[in-house]
């Protein structure tokens, strides 16, 4: 069957008691693309994935996965998808090899033992194949989870926060695997609270906020929409006001202060504002400038701009750790 969209949902709603977790999810993921569902904790990402993978029934709305109706053709949907997430896990009491063989059997793969060995090899798990999954490191376990999703090549692969809680090296492994899958033509829907992860992996990003998609676009489109972030770091706090006035005059927008770093910055879409001009104007105003930059916005800026809330809002340590790790990676790169 040829359909343009691997995932197409309209008005999906889900309530848990008094909580309206999804308030009309409209999502379209083109076949063969990677879609990043990005949002803070509580935005409804996991609920969205649980609905789209038949784990929960929607209260309202409809969706088609790989051309099949989510509710009426749930069995067909299940034979075409695979899910890896923090909640949908391999069996910790079985070894890696036993897990993969079991899932291969349940997927009616011919030669489940050979398929298991192949996947163990591909994901670098051969050495720990006969250890109980619960005794494996987080990174290995996540790779095993992903391998278990690939015993038979899925049309649509759902990854719910596939790298949360992993060290940077393991995170890199998982991301590389996702890139390879996407290159093979598998449609991937991944949720993440790591802004730079969606930026790196996704063809399209859907920003989720309070149970709805707040905005959709490619990373580049979203960034173009927001513009660049102009920032000045000054020698002492007394100069912040002057610097802010300059930025305000140049961009017509009210700058935001970062007093800890004695910095002030503002988002701008003005193409005539270049770094030399920024430096000249600040210097001309007598600002004791330590550093000036005009950088592409982070997806954090994007999120702040489009939803009016910080991506970290309510996410606690997870997002903070993610950002810290992301920064480390940027330095490494």
């Amino acid at each position: 069957m040829t359909t343009t969209y691997a995932v197409l949902s309209e008005g999906l709603e889900k309530r848990f008691g008094g909580t309206h977790a999804l308030r009309g999810l409209d999502l379209a993921v083109a076949r063969g693309t990677v879609c990043g569902l990005l949002g803070p904790n509580g935005a409804g990402k996991t609920t969205a994935v649980r609905l789209l993978t038949t784990l929960l029934r929607p209260d309202a709305g409809s969706a088609r996965i790989a051309g099949h109706d989510l509710v009426r053709e749930a069995a067909a949907v299940r034979s075409l998808i695979a899910v890896t997430g923090q909640y949908a896990s391999v069996d910790g009491d079985l070894t890696g090899r036993e897990n993969l063989r079991l899932f291969a059997r349940l997927h009616r793969v011919r030669g489940p033992a050979a398929r298991a060995d192949e996947l163990l090899e591909r994901f670098g798990l051969t050495g720990t194949a006969d250890r109980k999954a619960s005794a494996c490191s987080g990174g290995m376990r996540r790779r095993l989870d992903l391998a278990a999703s690939l015993v038979r090549r899925p049309e649509v692969l759902f990854l719910d926060e596939p790298t949360t809680g992993l060290d940077p090296a393991s995170r890199g492994d998982i991301r590389q695997a996702v890139r390879e899958l996407a290159a093979d033509g598998t449609t991937v829907l991944l949720t993440t609270q790591y802004l730079e992860e969606a930026d790196q992996l996704a063809d399209d990003i859907a920003l989720m906020d309070r149970g709805r998609i707040a905005h959709t676009g490619s990373p580049a489109e979203l960034k173009a929409l927001i513009g660049s972030y102009a920032e000045a770091v000054v020698a002492h706090a007394d100069a912040l006001g002057t610097a802010a006035a300059v930025l305000d005059r140049l961009t017509g927008r009210e700058p935001a202060f970062d007093r800890e770093r004695t910095a002030v910055g503002v988002l701008t879409t003005d193409p005539t504002l270049t770094l030399p001009r920024l430096v000249r104007e600040l210097d001309a105003a007598g600002v004791p400038l330590l550093d000036a930059s005009l950088r592409p916005p982070t997806l954090d800026d994007v999120f702040l701009r489009l939803t009016g809330t910080r991506a970290e809002a309510g996410t606690g340590t997870g997002a903070a750790a993610g950002r810290a790790a992301g920064t480390t990676e940027e330095h490494a790169a």
Binding site: R78, V83, D91, D93, L94, L106
Partner: protein
């Protein structure tokens, strides 16, 4: 139907491998009735009017029935663990027959129980218990016991899927320890006050215990007991089938809906 058998077999294999990989809990579970046989049989047995050997022969069918009722606890714990750890959800996203997961668990449990009961029977023989009835009746007793275990496991799986938490399942499991105390598994019920006797005799464990004592030829069916105990084989079959008819569909439904 073929799909169910295939998936069920694969999932039964999964549960058996789990027990093989982490045998600790299964071994402890099976050692429990052996300890109780020695403790009750010699400590309580010496305080009862019944002679010690006679009490131990009386006790063994009760322990077998109580062990079978332990399927409630084991079933609950495993199902809660699977739900809690996300294995149930993983299975639910696969094109697997819905009934195969609870059924696979219950069938694997039967295999583990059948093997795990052998040491208990050996100790029972060592302390003086014997099969005193004809062989076909003894075989019937084993069949009845396994059927009852299966029924209790089904109820346990449903409860486990309901609680979703290993801790809660552990607490409830510990509480289920009192169920055999309120039956004729460890003591004859004819000295209990009227209402308590009625309660104990309508406990499914009593019917199964009495059926085992009857079929193994260990003790006669008590006179003047409530219907399930007075007709212990029919009573045991009836209880088991009712439990299966109620809890197996509930467990399957709960597993497939997942909320």
């Amino acid at each position: 139907m073929r799909a169910l058998a295939y998936d069920g077999l694969a999932l039964t294999g999964r549960q058996l491998r789990r027990v093989r990989n982490s045998p600790g809990l299964a071994v402890l579970t099976q050692m429990m009735p052996i300890n109780m046989l020695l403790f009750f049989g010699y400590v309580f047995g010496s305080a009862l009017a019944m002679p010690g050997r006679e009490y131990r022969a009386f006790l063994v069918p009760g322990l077998l029935a109580a062990t079978a009722a332990g399927g409630l606890m084991t079933g609950m714990f495993q199902a809660a663990a699977d739900t809690h750890r996300g294995v149930s959800d993983r299975l639910r996203t696969l094109p697997v027959s819905r009934a195969a997961v609870p059924l696979g668990q219950a069938v694997a449990d039967l295999v583990v129980t059948a093997v795990g009961t052998v040491p208990l029977l050996l100790v029972a023989l060592a302390v003086g218990w014997r099969i005193e009835g004809p062989a076909p009746e003894a075989a019937g007793a084993v069949g009845l016991l396994l059927l009852f275990r299966f029924a209790c496991t089904c109820a346990g799986v449903w409860l486990g899927l309901l609680t979703r938490s290993e801790e809660a399942a552990g607490q409830l499991g510990a509480a289920s320890f009192v169920l055999p105390l309120l039956s004729d598994a460890y003591i004859p019920t004819d000295h209990l006050p009227g209402w308590l006797r009625t309660l104990a005799e309508w406990n499914p464990i009593s019917a199964v215990t009495t059926a085992l004592r009857d079929l193994f030829g260990n003790a006669p069916v008590p006179r003047g007991a409530a219907w399930p105990v007075a007709h212990p084989v029919a009573g045991s079959l009836g209880w088991s089938l009712v439990l299966i008819a109620v809890f197996l569909p509930l467990a399957v439904r709960r597993h497939s809906r997942g909320e």
